[in-house]
């Protein structure tokens, strides 16, 4: 079995992350419970003729994939695999509301076409004329991890050399309102530093795109080695610790080997307990970091967690703003990322320094 490496990456998030030379050097403060992406100049990357039908999510996906491809210095890949929990919300909303508002009359095809979940992966393929394997996973909070697992299997078996993997999510106005109505979004504004202590239900909703070139050949400036990915549709709170331990064991890693853990805390009083029980027990003496206070919550934001972990492994630095505790870690060799959403769809991603 071949080893799998993260050779390059790109992140469009609510922070200034699309320039790979930076690493959370300046932080954008937010206090609203819905936060948008800090956009690159899309026109710099996409020709007007191609961009004219693209909703935000497609633009973010296409541009993030371009930045990642450029960094890996490759023109094409052997597979394009994306994850998106909600798909292209903006066009879906446009088409549904047009059906209702116009009583099924005078509907136009563009928003219907763009509402298809695999639009982003399709447009990336179209843009680089890539006729390779093209998959899109749409399973809530593990959409990205499903894509990553698929890529990993193909690379391990040498069915592919380079694979573009990414997660993308866009905010839709109506969907946001609807999720507010059922308290999945925080009721009031909350500042970044206060998010974990907010003691309220719901999360800060966001959008973004995180793309990676993963390969079974290590580039010199590689970010990380991808050791394992595993997902669980259900997992009782009491069973998270033992499941982590058996996951590590299967991958010949001891709990003590974990230098740093990337946790998916989003400040939802009902569900942060999944993480806090780990911070208080098995990872009590481990360096803990979190990120959703910077980039919010969305179905593929765990890809930002992987981005953060990979960046820390490569640069061997931990930005102060992401630290939950401080263990004066001298070297970061092994990182575990753990995420879940509303108690379901749990994922573990294990990364090592390369």
């Amino acid at each position: 079995m071949k080893r799998v490496y993260i050779n390059s990456m790109a992140s469009i998030s609510s922070q200034k992350t699309f320039e790979n030379t930076e690493f959370l050097d300046t932080i954008i403060e937010y206090s609203e419970p819905v936060i948008f992406a800090h956009d690159p100049d899309y026109k710099q990357y996409i020709a007007p003729a191609a961009a004219r039908r693209m909703a935000k999510g497609i633009k973010m996906g296409v541009v993030a994939s371009k930045i990642a491809m450029d960094e890996a210095k490759i023109e094409t890949v052997d597979a394009i695999i994306t994850g998106t929990g909600m798909g292209c919300m903006i066009d879906s909303e446009k088409f549904v509301s047009a059906i209702i508002d116009n009583n099924e009359q005078y509907l136009t095809p563009t928003s219907f076409i763009q509402s298809t979940h695999n639009t982003v992966a399709g447009q990336i393929a179209l843009g680089m004329e890539c006729k390779a394997y093209n998959f899109t996973y749409v399973h809530s909070a593990i959409s990205f991890e499903s894509a990553l697992l698929d890529a990993k299997m193909q690379l391990e078996n040498d069915e592919a050399k380079n694979i573009l993997v990414g997660g993308v999510e866009e905010l839709g106005e109506h969907t946001t309102k609807v999720h507010k109505a059922i308290n999945h979004i925080k009721p009031t504004s909350v500042s970044l530093s206060e998010m974990l202590k907010s003691n309220t239900q719901g999360a800060v909703f966001s959008e973004g795109a995180n793309f990676f070139v993963v390969s079974n050949e290590k580039l010199q400036n590689c970010y990380a080695e991808l050791i394992a990915v595993e997902t669980f549709n259900t997992l009782q709170k009491e069973k998270v610790s033992e499941t982590i331990e058996s996951f590590l064991q299967q991958n010949n890693v001891q709990l003590a080997d974990i230098d740093l853990v990337v946790l998916g805390n989003n400040g939802d009083v009902d569900f942060d307990g999944f993480y806090n029980q780990l911070s208080d027990a098995i990872f009590k003496n481990t360096q803990q970091v979190y990120y959703k206070h910077l980039v919010g919550e969305n179905n593929t934001v765990s890809a930002f967690g992987v981005w953060l972990a990979s960046k820390m492994l490569k640069t061997q630095t931990i930005p102060e703003i992401v630290k939950i505790n401080d263990t004066n870690l001298s070297e970061i060799k092994t990182i575990l990322c753990y995420n879940q959403y509303r108690g379901q769809n749990h994922s573990f991603v294990l990364l090592k320094k390369c």
Partner: protein
């Protein structure tokens, strides 16, 4: 690497039957399920025909014995019905005995409820329970729950009309790589105003019975369906002394990278998908005994797919037919229901007719099988081609 993955169970619900036996009966007796739409109120009613499952939601809820406060979309209910039949047919009584996962394809997901309660969600408490059923993964999550699959790999693929074929593909790879011992694979999609009007804007819906591979084809009929297969590792098959229905022998996915909705003129993507599948199966084109074509009966699909098939098979063309004239195009579920039909073809050594065909297309001389035909079948190739240039091929075989 070339050994097939065992299929030990299957289940289906479509416009031509509520289970595998009913579907088979309809297929061999040429009973199509295409009618006007009854369960959805739409102004397009007189302009389209559909492959609709006639049970209303209340009947499905009763059949599944769901509590009144349930928040199942129609996609989820159809999925649960087909998945349960698949588990029963694989004689699985203890789902937890082996590491079991599920991979499902859907494109509509919970859109049927979203379009019904879109604005009510903001003001009415009662329908708000469906907000969480909107996302595509919800139906899969519910099927897993109904089957008792916990703490396992449960995921969803949405690549438009090739979704279920791709779910079968991933499932086969999960078994081969040893990640799972057993996996339920397939897809589900219900009819919705969203897809009816969406395809209407593309002007590819026929106002009468769809006629795959016919010169005068007028477009597709949308359908709704769900179908699942149970794939099991050799270890489980041996330990449980399982009867194997057929094998997933080969699979391939490629992208046409040509246009957002249309297929390329020469079917590059479909050609590549078939080539890859043959390679994984270690088979030559001449080893294929029957092709269950995608054959949606749109002008573009049948021409592009036909050319791709000619590129692969040339003068050694086996019998081929599209079963879309029976069921309509069931979108994300199509690859799964046609997988069930391919397995039935292998089991019964029979080729199902391509109904409604009259006139060969002028671009080539491909003539589908139009009458039920008995033939010893060892391998069946099934194509699923979708939006975003997504092209998939799965090859099923009698022998591993």
């Amino acid at each position: 690497m070339n050994k097939g993955v065992a299929i030990t169970g299957m289940g289906i619900i479509s416009a031509i039957g509520n289970n595998v036996a009913e579907n088979y009966d309809a297929l061999i007796n040429e009973k199509k399920g295409i009618t006007r739409v009854d369960n959805i109120e739409t102004i397009q009613r007189d302009e389209i025909m559909v492959g609709e499952i006639k049970h209303i939601n209340a009947e499905l809820i009763a059949q599944l014995n769901l509590p009144p406060e349930n928040n199942y979309s129609r996609t989820a209910m159809l999925g649960v019905i087909a998945a349960k039949e698949a588990i029963n047919s694989a004689h699985i009584t203890n789902i937890k005995k082996y590491k079991t996962g599920i991979v499902s394809g859907t494109s509509v997901g919970g859109m049927d409820m979203t379009e019904k309660y879109y604005y009510e969600y903001l003001t009415e408490k009662e329908p708000q329970k469906y907000i969480e059923s909107h996302h595509a993964g919800d139906s899969t999550q519910k099927i897993a729950e109904q089957l008792g699959i916990e703490e396992s790999l449960v995921t969803t693929i949405s690549t438009a009309c090739s979704s279920a074929a791709n779910a079968i593909m991933l499932g086969a790879r999960l078994i081969k790589s040893g990640k799972l011992d057993r996996v339920v694979v397939g897809g589900a999609d219900c009819l919705s105003k969203f897809t009816i009007n969406g395809f209407k804007t593309l002007m590819i819906l026929s106002d009468t019975y769809n006629t795959p591979f016919d010169e005068n084809r007028k477009g597709l009929n949308l359908g709704e369906a769900a179908a699942y297969l149970v794939l099991e590792s050799d270890k489980v098959v041996k330990a449980e002394n399982k009867k194997v229905l057929a094998y997933v022998k080969g699979y391939g996915n490629a992208n046409d990278a040509f246009h957002q909705t249309a297929s390329s003129e020469n079917g590059d993507g479909a050609t590549l998908a078939m080539e890859k599948a043959l390679k994984v199966a270690n088979l030559k084109p001449s080893d294929i005994d029957y092709i269950n074509v995608h054959g949606t009966a749109t002008g573009n699909n049948d021409l592009s797919e036909g050319r791709a098939i000619l590129r692969i098979f040339g003068n050694e063309m086996p019998e081929f037919s599209s079963t879309k004239a029976y069921t309509g195009h069931t979108l994300a579920a199509a690859g799964a229901i046609e997988a069930v039909y391919s397995i039935l073809a292998l089991q019964h050594n029979v080729i199902f007719p391509n109904l409604n065909f009259k006139t060969p297309m002028k671009e080539f001389s491909m003539i589908p099988q139009t009458k039920l035909k008995k033939k010893e079948l060892k391998t069946v190739l099934s194509n699923s081609l979708g939006f975003g240039g997504n092209c998939s091929t799965v090859i099923f075989s009698k022998e591993a």
